[in-house]
């Protein structure tokens, strides 16, 4: 099966992130010089410019900073995914990333909702994306 869906092209310094995702681990960088936590992976620490960056597993929990449900007009490669939820997630470690909220109740998402990481293979590829599921349906939903 082929897909026209865009998939990440890892760089030499981001490849460990994607390798960890294939093992169902969500990772971020920590600077060995100044301790800054970095997401997404950078070549140099954006705080002190050191290259002494190490990898740490995230707990995989956090909250939704903002979100949208794309119901029409998606970019190419996402036509058969509509509707889907795109969200910015703030991990409990304090770093943020773009992701999808998945699962049957994904559209019940709210700003501030608690979420936990899950892993989704892009069909037809060996790319594994960290995505998130809602911890529980919000009251009244």
């Amino acid at each position: 099966m082929t897909t026209t869906r865009p998939v990440p092209t890892p760089s030499s310094w981001s490849e460990p992130f994607w390798a960890a995702a294939r093992e169902e681990r969500l990772t971020f960088q920590v600077c060995g010089s100044c301790g800054t936590a970095t997401m997404y992976p950078k070549r140099l620490c954006p705080t002190c410019l050191s290259d002494a960056l190490t990898w740490q597993d995230a707990a995989g929990t956090g909250e939704v900073y903002t979100w949208t449900e794309q119901v029409a007009g998606p970019p190419s490669g996402f036509e058969d995914r509509v509707p889907y939820v795109v969200a910015v997630v703030r991990l409990d470690e304090g770093v943020q990333l773009m992701s999808n909220i998945v699962g049957p109740d994904a559209a019940n998402v709210q700003c501030g909702a608690r979420v936990t990481v899950a892993f989704e293979t892009v069909p037809g590829t060996d790319v594994v994306l960290p995505v998130f599921t809602l911890d529980e349906a919000p009251a009244g939903a």
């Binding site: 869906r5 865009p6 998939v7 990440p8 092209t9 890892p10 760089s11 981001s14 997404y40 900073y65 903002t66 979100w67 949208t68 449900e69 794309q70 119901v71 029409a72 007009g73 998606p74 970019p75 190419s76 490669g77 996402f78 995914r81 889907y84 795109v86 969200a87 910015v88 943020q96 990333l97 773009m98 992701s99 999808n100 700003c111 501030g112 892009v122 790319v127 994306l129 995505v131």
Partner: protein, 391 residues
């Protein structure tokens, strides 16, 4: 506060919309020539030509980079420098800031700033895909189906969450802009738009409906910048650059720490301080839109809503024709059309037009001071520029 050192002395523009038979080059030379005529200058009076980046055709952009405009408009062996400045939608503000610096130091005498693009004539899906790359990280965001309408939607969602702004108030921005566009012969959409039509239009990316998502357009605009003392000799209606503040807050929107404000509070503070003017002095607000939430974020930061929430202020009609704070009087990208990096340039040129007293049916009477906002990519930066008829 400081005395203004630079001013805009001429403006030019062609109508925005779908013009498949009008090339980018034709639109560029027509709008540039109009700006020169408006200033009463000849091509030989220009020493620096500053074209913004064009997105639809890489060949046309290469032409812009390599002095095509100088050759087309008779500036060969007169112009000293052709230099592209490109900050996406923020280019209106960044080109003005660069031109201001050049004429202030004497590195340039007169700078011709111009934009022309034809993104409106791209096939619709090509337009969606093009703007899914402009400030959207290929590795970290695109794999999730992120795209420009989702940028506007996610900013709206966070803004609504923090400020209790309603969907009706977002829709009211579109209605206000359309009322101005109905008076603008260069606007792409000039028929009346009602609140019911906006709220009844197809949902695209929650909470944004199709009427709340800008439409891509073909268009072009230009302006000429000179030193303040030179400007007084050139024209009766110089528009002085009184202050500018700006802040870069992200490349990819997932890294922004404050989407409900972006960098506009910081930018507004600096721009007001530099200009010696404050919210009570402003007569026209030329706020960059593209989506209805962004003028609201800017209006809050600029303190132009008489103590009200921006959404309530707009919904009450205060930003529409006849209102106390006319906002984005060309109709913005939601009604004049989104011409690529030029959407913001059209908003800025309209601010000049208002202060020059050349806005025709939509002229704001007694307009002396205006404030302009702009941002590029996925609202990576926040620019505020204060303009005035008075130096």
């Amino acid at each position: 506060m400081r005395r203004a050192t630079a001013a805009v002395v001429g403006i030019g523009e062609v109508p925005s919309g779908k013009f498949p038979d009008r090339s980018e080059l034709e639109a560029a030379v027509l709008s540039a020539a109009a700006a020169l005529r408006d200033a009463g200058l000849s091509p030989r009076d220009i020493d620096v030509v500053m074209p913004v980046g064009a997105l639809a055709s890489s060949q046309f952009n290469v032409d812009l980079v390599f002095s095509r405009i100088c050759e087309e408009l008779g500036m060969l062996r007169g112009a000293t420098m052709n230099v592209q400045v490109m900050s996406g939608g923020a280019s209106s503000s960044t080109m003005l800031a660069v031109a201001e610096a050049l004429v202030t130091t004497g590195a340039a005498r007169r700078v011709l700033v111009l934009h022309s693009d034809k993104v409106g004539s791209l096939p619709p899906q090509r337009g969606v895909d093009l703007f899914a790359t402009t400030g959207v990280s290929e590795e970290w965001e695109r794999p999730y189906g992120h795209n420009m309408n989702a940028v506007g939607a996610m900013t709206s969602r966070r803004y609504m969450y923090e400020t209790a702004t309603t969907e009706e108030e977002l829709a009211a921005v579109c209605v206000s802009l359309r009322k101005w566009a109905m008076l603008n012969p260069h606007a792409m959409y000039r028929s009346e738009l009602t609140m019911e039509e906006v709220l009844g239009s197809k949902m695209v990316a929650t909470p944004l409906r199709s009427r709340e998502c800008n439409m891509l357009a073909d268009g072009a605009a230009a302006y000429v910048v000179a030193s303040a003392s030179d400007a007084e000799e050139i024209t009766e209606t110089p528009v002085y650059v009184r202050g500018h503040g700006s802040l870069v807050t992200h490349y990819s929107m997932s890294q922004d720490l404050d989407l409900a404000h972006l960098g506009f509070p910081e930018a507004a503070k600096v721009a007001y301080e530099e200009s010696g003017l404050g919210p009570d002095d402003i007569h026209v607000a030329a706020c960059y839109d593209a989506y209805p939430v962004y003028p609201l974020i800017a209006m809050d930061a600029l303190g132009l809503c008489r103590g009200e929430r921006a959404g309530a202020f707009v919904a009450a009609g205060h930003t529409s024709p006849g209102g106390v704070m006319p906002m984005t009087t060309n109709g913005g990208m939601l009604s004049q059309g989104h011409t690529g990096a030029g959407g913001g340039i059209a908003v800025l040129v309209e601010a000049f037009r208002q202060l020059m007293g050349k806005a025709g049916e939509r002229q704001v009477q007694g307009a002396v001071n205006a404030v302009e906002t702009a941002s590029g990519g996925t609202w990576m930066d926040s620019h505020v520029t204060v303009l005035s008829k008075e130096r």
